[in-house]
Symmetry: C2
Subunit: 187 residues, 2 copies
């Protein structure tokens, strides 16, 4: 793998040549960095509901490359009185976190010329259901602790890889606070 004229550099499956062009474009015109992602959800019954995800905007344009939306069902397992027609919402959070930390590590490593051969991860989230159930004001409703264990086949050292992985947007979303504005209308 060598960067030469008229040659595209691919590292860790990431087109580093194009990635570098995108980074340079956003460096020059910061407004291109403004992205908006979206989801729509419809309740089906009980703990079962379905999201569709398709459009988003970024780099100064509305994306129109997805012919079909992604569709995800969420439900609760029988222990939580659902029909288990999908993973439950807090399980989806762990998926989002694992996926984001993995992609972030892979992209940032690629941008620095660090080769990664394999990544696997195991995540655990601890949640005290008394918070959700309103049984105690001292117990929070969401996870009170999350652990991410990653195994990476690479010559880079673990501290550097951890620094790269924690550039992850979902790591930021989960570990830090964020304003969520809720508007409900009835009909």
């Amino acid at each position: 793998m060598a960067l030469t004229h008229d040659q595209t550099v691919i590292t860790n499956g990431v087109n580093v040549t194009e990635l570098s062009e995108t980074i340079e474009a956003i460096r020059r015109r910061p407004e291109l960095g403004a992205f908006q992602f979206r989801a729509k959800n419809n309740w089906l019954d009980g703990g079962h509901n379905r999201s569709t995800i398709r459009g988003f905007s970024g780099c100064g344009m509305e994306d129109d490359t997805r012919a079909e939306p992604f569709v995800f069902d969420a439900d609760e397992p029988p222990m939580l009185h659902g029909g288990d027609k999908g993973a439950n919402p807090v399980e989806f959070v762990l998926h989002a976190l694992a996926a984001c930390m993995t992609t972030t590590m892979v992209y940032h490593a690629a941008a620095r010329g660090i080769e990664i051969e394999a990544v696997s991860s195991e995540l655990e989230g601890d949640l005290d259901m008394r918070g959700f159930m309103g049984l105690s004001d001292d117990v929070r409703k969401g996870y009170h602790d999350v652990r991410v264990k990653m195994r990476v086949k690479s010559n880079a050292n673990p501290d550097q890889l951890a620094e790269l992985a924690t550039y992850s947007p979902v790591y930021d979303i989960v570990s830090n606070s964020l304003p969520v504005h809720v508007l409900i209308e009835t009909f």
Copy 2:
């Protein structure tokens, strides 16, 4: 719908009789409220990776009711140099949030005898890619603002429904900070 002896109450598709029994059991024995959810993820290539979700523990036992794991692919769209083989991780966060606020509203309404006929929601998350790209220390990496707009067919008033929806564990996870412990090992 009336609660009588030997009759199960179902409201909003939720078995309120069983839900009340679970809440009462956890009220009496708080240790039963300790749940642990899990995900495993494997990197495939570039921005493409795959999570499997199956086991969890709660109510003092390990769940063994899922014959197969749930499997979710994450990827990045072409604009972010991926192959679009799945929604991207920050889009999964919006799905998790929509699903959790919907289920939470439906369950809490059911527990209070409030009937809900329909729920739909639209979510938007704003993210400045300069944070992820390391172009500015002043820009956070994840969403800096999330909006949740829910339309609910119910006789309950919007303020009460908002109060119920914000019991959501994912709303807590996203809007508040949370310790995420990262351990990376190389091989």
